[in-house]
């Protein structure tokens, strides 16, 4: 079976686009990725389109109506915050199977405003009466399990936000590019202990796109900027005794990571750069261990050490992460891969991870799904 290569990768700057539709944002990202690959939409055999809130609206077809209706299959996927990684994985399978030589993946989202979630219920509203269903509270509770087990402190959780906000100052496509010192993170509005507002991801709009090709096509186009997909993995949540009362952010990610490392024939020690799902600062701490970046219970010390900051042993979320680059749900998984591709190509500008050869991207979808991709400079 053919290896699969990324030859086009780009995204629009994340932010708020009140005057544009989600499919216009997706179309712009698609054209940028096609230009990056040196291809036309007429070269593309299929479109894989991801959105959490608009996949059912035929997103892929709407993008093609903006950029050229070639009649190719459009596969529209929705898988919560793992929607983008799911589309990439399906595109990977399409190339791997030999059916297509070149496909377009586009993730696009205009997030609803305000705090996301809060599904309608019969009877009295459950929020406050039966605990909290809000995402900050859910990830606060996941973090408090780590705090109880290992003594992780609010300062350690807050340092994740300090680091990622600092990284975002070097990313022109990040929604928020403002340094936030530790005292500012701790002093911002408390949302759900221990998470302050600056420890919660930024609710923004955005779109990102990738062009995936077969090895044959990559060789035709030239391998100088090509990035090989060493592993593409997607999991659903395995049984956990407290689920679904308590959302389990860990086991679904651990399963995806283990299978991705196996597929790649690599381990966490081989990684040079990581983009992981920092939907909340607590989540990044948990995922350090879930992805094997440190040992069990060592994540608090890992953030203290500075090893996950740019220039450290294993830089994490150099883009600014979901905390400050922003989290347009269905675009996030695609954008995380765009970031890794830029580092492996040596094109990440001021935030470049020096000499990066192998990178990992991870997303976690509530409900649950996890996507892990491991990429290597060809």
């Amino acid at each position: 079976m053919s290896d699969v290569y990324i030859v086009g990768a780009d995204m629009i700057a994340f932010g708020r686009y009140p005057d544009r539709t989600y499919y216009q944002l997706g179309a712009e990202a698609s054209l940028k990725a096609l230009d990056d690959a040196g291809l036309s939409i007429k070269d593309i055999g299929a479109v894989y389109a991801s959105s959490c809130f608009n996949a059912q609206s035929m997103l892929g077809q709407k993008v093609l109506k903006e950029i050229g209706q070639t009649g190719v299959p459009c596969i529209n996927v929705s898988n919560a915050c793992a929607s983008g990684a799911t589309a990439v994985r399906e595109a990977f399978i399409g190339i791997k199977s030999g059916i297509y030589d070149a496909v377009l993946v586009v993730g696009s989202e205009k997030n609803p405003r305000g705090m996301l979630g809060g599904a309608p219920h019969d009877g009295p509203p459950p929020e406050g009466l039966f605990g909290s269903e809000s995402m900050p509270a859910v990830f606060a509770e996941a973090g408090m399990v780590h705090a109880a087990a290992y003594g992780t402190t609010i300062e350690q959780f807050a340092k994740v936000a300090v680091k990622n906000h600092q990284h975002a100052t070097m990313n022109p496509k990040a929604a928020y590019r403002k340094e936030t010192p530790l005292d500012e993170v701790l002093a911002s509005e408390m949302i759900a202990w221990p998470l302050t507002k600056l420890m919660c991801s930024a609710n923004v709009d955005g779109a990102a796109a990738l062009v995936l090709v077969s090895e044959k096509k990559a060789r035709e186009l030239g391998m100088s900027r090509a990035v090989r997909i060493r592993a593409s993995m997607l999991t659903s949540d395995p049984y956990e005794p407290r689920n679904p009362v308590m959302f389990d952010a860990n086991s679904v990610t651990r399963l995806a990571a283990a299978k991705a490392y196996e597929m790649a024939g690599l381990g966490p020690q081989d990684l040079d750069v990581v983009e992981l799902h920092d939907c909340f600062a607590t989540a990044e701490i948990l995922h350090y261990e879930n992805l094997g970046l440190c040992g069990e219970g060592e994540a608090g010390r890992l953030i203290d050490s500075g090893d996950t900051a740019l220039g450290g042993r294993i830089p994490v979320n150099v883009s600014g992460g979901l905390l400050s680059k922003g989290h347009p749900i269905g675009a996030t998984g695609v954008a995380n891969i765009v970031e890794i591709v830029e580092h492996l190509r040596g094109e990440a500008g001021a935030r470049q991870v020096s000499g990066a050869k192998i990178g990992l991207s991870h997303v976690l979808g509530f409900g649950a799904a996890a996507g892990v991709h491991i990429l290597e400079k060809a």
Binding site: P125, A148, I191
Partner: protein, 142 residues
């Protein structure tokens, strides 16, 4: 609990059952093959996939706090702050609820709590029928 003796309350959430005497309890479901406990009835066991459907049991009302958050901002119209708690009951069932009657600074993993029922914050359906809900309080005997 406070309910009109002539009006049978309605469960405010799916895990609550109400006896003929109007007294509520929590119903769990346990797999007879592997022992896993669930808050929902499923067609097969989520853990071991046994096709012997998990069977209903009446949950105990004591447990220990597994995790929590003090929620300061929530959806519009929700009274804050409150303590959102995840509690492991002593019979293996896990519930999420609001922990009341406790200083937020004193909340700790492992603290013993008791399940209590109330009138779900005074909520009524369109016919004026009360809802019965549950919450947790600290248990003083441990």
């Amino acid at each position: 609990m406070t309910t009109d003796s002539l009006v049978m309350p309605k469960p405010a959430t799916g895990v609550i059952r109400i006896g003929a005497d109007g007294r509520p309890w929590i119903e769990g479901f346990r797999c007879g093959d592997c022992g896993a406990a669930f808050t929902e009835q499923t067609m097969a066991c989520r853990r071991c996939a046994s096709r012997n459907a998990p069977e209903a049991f009446r949950a105990v009302d004591t447990g220990k706090l597994y995790s929590w958050s003090v929620v300061h901002r929530s959806y519009p119209g929700v009274a804050v702050p409150f303590v959102s708690a995840i509690v492991d009951l002593e019979d293996g069932l896990t519930l999420k609820g609001t922990l009341r009657g406790v200083d937020a600074d004193a909340v700790r993993q492992g603290m013993p709590v008791a399940l209590v029922f109330d009138d779900a914050g005074g909520a009524r359906d369109k016919d004026g029928v009360p809802y019965v809900g549950f919450h947790f309080i600290p248990r003083g005997d441990a």
